[in-house]
Symmetry: C2
Subunit: 343 residues, 2 copies
Amino acid sequence: MQRILAIDAGGTTTRAVIVDLSGRCLGYGQAGGGNPISAGVDSALASLVAATTMALQASQPATDTFSSALIAMAGASAQMPLERISDRFTSLGLRGDVEVDSDLLAMFYSGTSSSHGYTLVAGTGAAAARITDGRLEAVSGGSGWLLGDAGSGYWIGHQVVRAVVASLDGRAPETALSDLLVASLQLEATSERSNGRSLLLLRLIHALYALRPIELSRFAPLAFQAQDDHVASGILAAAASELAGTLAAVWDPGMDGPVVLGGSVLGGTIRGNGMLAGTSPLAASLKTALGDAELIPVRDGVVGAAVLGLLRAGIRLDRDVFFRIGRNVSLRREAASVNGSVV
Amino acid sequence: MQRILAIDAGGTTTRAVIVDLSGRCLGYGQAGGGNPISAGVDSALASLVAATTMALQASQPATDTFSSALIAMAGASAQMPLERISDRFTSLGLRGDVEVDSDLLAMFYSGTSSSHGYTLVAGTGAAAARITDGRLEAVSGGSGWLLGDAGSGYWIGHQVVRAVVASLDGRAPETALSDLLVASLQLEATSERSNGRSLLLLRLIHALYALRPIELSRFAPLAFQAQDDHVASGILAAAASELAGTLAAVWDPGMDGPVVLGGSVLGGTIRGNGMLAGTSPLAASLKTALGDAELIPVRDGVVGAAVLGLLRAGIRLDRDVFFRIGRNVSLRREAASVNGSVV
């Protein structure tokens, strides 16, 4: 019986599943960031191997070989040393080829069996795509924290810290975000001033510059926690508007199709907050912006990675196969979670 | 006859003058960035020494000793190894102490002999201060490229590249800034697409991530070049509004006083553009925002550094002394420029 390894290699989390050609999921595994651009090649490769090893060990029935591997990751195929991956995976039981595909396509196929439609992803970064005949027809966003990704987790976190700095600096109104940020960084609050400046502000600036810029994304949940605050709700409204603009850039008025929403900001849970997709104010606000399009929030891209693996193995994707993959991956994921092997 | 060394140590340029106690300027020297935070301690120290050596060599009458040294720099006194500077300066002829003072205070005293008033500085960064009795009473801004400095050269440059990326990505309107940026980075224009994305955009993103973020400030002049463009003028209007807000944060309605405008964005020339202070659209727009306050644009902080040096030597700052310093520094600077020793 042929088995396929499918991996969703994200910036923060890597998820791997073993599926058979009927769409049954045999095992699920998870590890840290698997994107070579953000994590570095060695660390990304280690995550791919760790998630795969875990999925193989969890497999029922037991699995020690697989016929192909599909890795979904953000525009990183050029950066990833496919030969090194192939060598490592062969030692884990691979008896065929490794292929890399788009994370956007995997996110799309996590939510639908249609080969036409749209996906909008907002995790640490943000991007949208129009999919036609199962291929990326148009892509927008994904230009990274410094140059784009408006509305993403990084973007929201950055707006949060800038709003707090401006407020403590007397350049902007007070906001409930200040106390949340100061608490989250475990800074000692003080109203003292030194050389015409707030001492607390100097401490805050010092603590924030000690982080890598991309780590500001960890403060995005504060905006959701402080939704009743005028400044926080303004940031979330602006994020929704930016994300709607990113999707609009790939929208074809002549083409209908479902809109799959993914990433921690839109689709899944937000760390430290526990809010689920359906109740996200961003998702709600996008719903208003997008009118009567069918919106499908998904947790991540691992189901779609399995779909892409099956498509490449020549399996026709009907709704039965699609739903079997989704249901099976959920069950295996829950089992892994109950066993305490997924944190 | 007692001589004083006064230095304006900026992020991009370090300027040094030798003055006597009557306010005569004997020599002028210039070197690269002298701020230890942005340039690193060794490189900053090398710039201080180079500018000082040049000023001493240019001195008329010839000068080989000086009784004190004053260095004006952005909130960096804690980072600067005063003993190392003192040792180096002693070998150059120093027979007294080295003191460090605020760059904001130096900018203020470059424009006025009053001991009360305001300064607003927008170079690579942006900050404002209220000065009372010759001391910094309140300071706003200066929180760096990632967290603050709204309206600064970095901020404008960052907005320029984000606007171009968004435009090429189909998320924002076309702008004349695109051609200017592509030309400035010497990229080959193309309308080809790859995997649903603009190839030119991918090239642009690649080129921009190869820079350090702070280097985006070099694209600020493009916004001034493209002033007729709707997007560019929007960026400049937003910058003016942010800078007015930074000044407003230190404004005391009960205290009048001149407003000294400094830094490459506001006060002096903008590299690659050659526009002078008086004609800057930012300065013009601030003029509207600030009503009837007296606005004094200055080129940099070196005159004020000399003023601070004289004040510390116990000289009373009357208008005669103040204007003598300003006039003399200009003459020495021009002489250095004619001699080709200042680029």
